[in-house]
Symmetry: C2
Subunit: 281 residues, 2 copies
């Protein structure tokens, strides 16, 4: 590419979203409502603790509240669900985030599905997944929503494009695939059992990396002019994409950090404000 690659600036997109929330939070506060996100952290994984802290801080910076629930690493599914149910019925809590992953003894799906759909601002419930797949979710999963928001922000066309999603998790690969499909992309979903992955990725006009392996997506897999969205965040601030190698080929790319990550948090805040506004009726 002789043209300069566009760096998709997630920090800027996130800031714009958050700027748009300030007046909404103020208006709510005039009505006596402070949007409140409850975060649940089970166990003491340091990365998870950092994520939860970042989300709490992001709330407070916008004048929102953050209720932090920390549970022992040995918490059972039943205990966790009881905590979630308390938050479901707490009128001061508008959104609930259960930090992923939870310790292995917990039935994560059961815990996610204990979250009331109207407080599922992180978009993790089974029902919320399907509503999103059918295009009418109140709160689509935050990382997929962030990816779509970045594409929209930079007016990158999706309709009729061939998008290749690498990864098929319930809160990332699957929902983002269906969201791109609903925007009229032709979508190929790849994963660990895919054969000839490089050849398939090389057909993509839009690549979504959602695989959780550092620098997994190779530069020589990328078609000239492709748009690359890197939803990975691995140890050492490295994404799922071999950034330097892919940068040369792509027409646009999200960096890591300051790409999809900050927009994901902004979507979470936006969804929490949306939920709080519903309390106004």
């Amino acid at each position: 590419m002789t043209e300069q690659t566009l760096i998709l600036d997630g920090a800027r997109v996130a800031q714009d979203i958050k700027d748009g929330l300030v007046s909404r939070v103020k208006r709510l506060s005039e009505q006596g409502i402070t949007p409140c996100l409850a975060t649940i952290l089970v166990g003491d994984d340091p990365a998870s603790a950092t994520y939860v802290r970042m989300k709490g801080n992001a709330c407070r910076r916008l004048g929102m509240e953050s209720l932090k629930i920390t549970l022992d690493a040995g918490t059972t599914t039943e205990e966790l669900i009881r905590e979630i149910q308390k938050l479901n019925t707490d009128p001061n809590v508008h959104g609930i985030l259960l930090q992923h992953p939870v310790p292995h003894q917990i039935d994560e799906r059961a815990a996610f599905d204990a979250i009331a759909i109207e407080k599922d601002v992180d978009g993790v419930t089974t029902l919320g997944f399907a509503q999103n797949a059918f295009g009418f979710a109140a709160y689509p999963s935050c990382t997929p929503a962030a990816i779509i928001t970045i594409l929209d922000y930079y007016r990158i066309p999706v309709e009729g494009k061939h998008a290749v999603v690498v990864g098929r998790s319930p809160i990332l690969g699957k929902p983002v695939s269906l969201m791109l499909l609903n925007r009229n992309a032709t979508v190929t979903i790849c994963h660990s059992r895919t054969k000839g992955l490089g050849d398939i990725v090389s057909q993509a006009e839009i690549v979504v990396a959602a695989v959780g392996k550092p620098k997994f997506i190779q530069g020589d897999w990328i078609q000239d002019g492709a748009v690359i969205l890197d939803a990975g965040y691995n140890e050492g601030n490295v994404g799922d994409v071999d950034y330097e190698a892919c940068l040369e080929k792509a027409s646009a790319i999200t960096p890591v950090p300051a790409g999809v990550g900050p927009v994901t948090i902004a979507m979470l805040l936006k969804h929490t404000v949306d939920a709080a506004e519903k309390q106004l009726g």
Copy 2:
């Protein structure tokens, strides 16, 4: 292809499934339970009336019951939902089928979602869709389930294969894509806005035609040795696949009729028996 193309005999697969149900229906009947499928037909579309009659007849041939509800073409969403709710609470009804499509004034999604998940034997609810997408639905949508069942019956490997699904409806294209994905296929989902459809289909080792247009899938799109599943059923007993042209290329293909159609009805019967057995506790 010099080798003979395998004709995937849906009538035979369906018969095997129904044969397997006979003893289960008998056992239930000894306990005083007759598995009952309630069918709802709104309006007087002759094709829909035929489908409903076929499903009712299929029930009776197995010693199951079929409760046929016929509603006026002018029925409102509210009226339809009230009928569904009656069936939800009727202990003699084990499965509910709302014949698709419904007249335009009805909110089809709202009507589908009024069906209690434990009676959603046709797999049309929003929640059922997501449970299927995550691999734990009690009753996956019947046509997608039929396609997977045919692949299984003929021991056609899916893992690592590239499957191309043409169509993205909530009860066919989307769920079958996710079911193939869950079986470790690499899945491409195409639709009316897809560019270069023929080129994409020509990469497929498994082709699922779910588009609702007669003879839409062309022979020269088909890779030598591909497996073709035709979920279409158009006027004049014609599928979505140009059968004669595709037959020459495919290693295996479902005919129309006697392909996916009869297996779809068998899945509906099986799900209704499954639901009735749950009443035994």
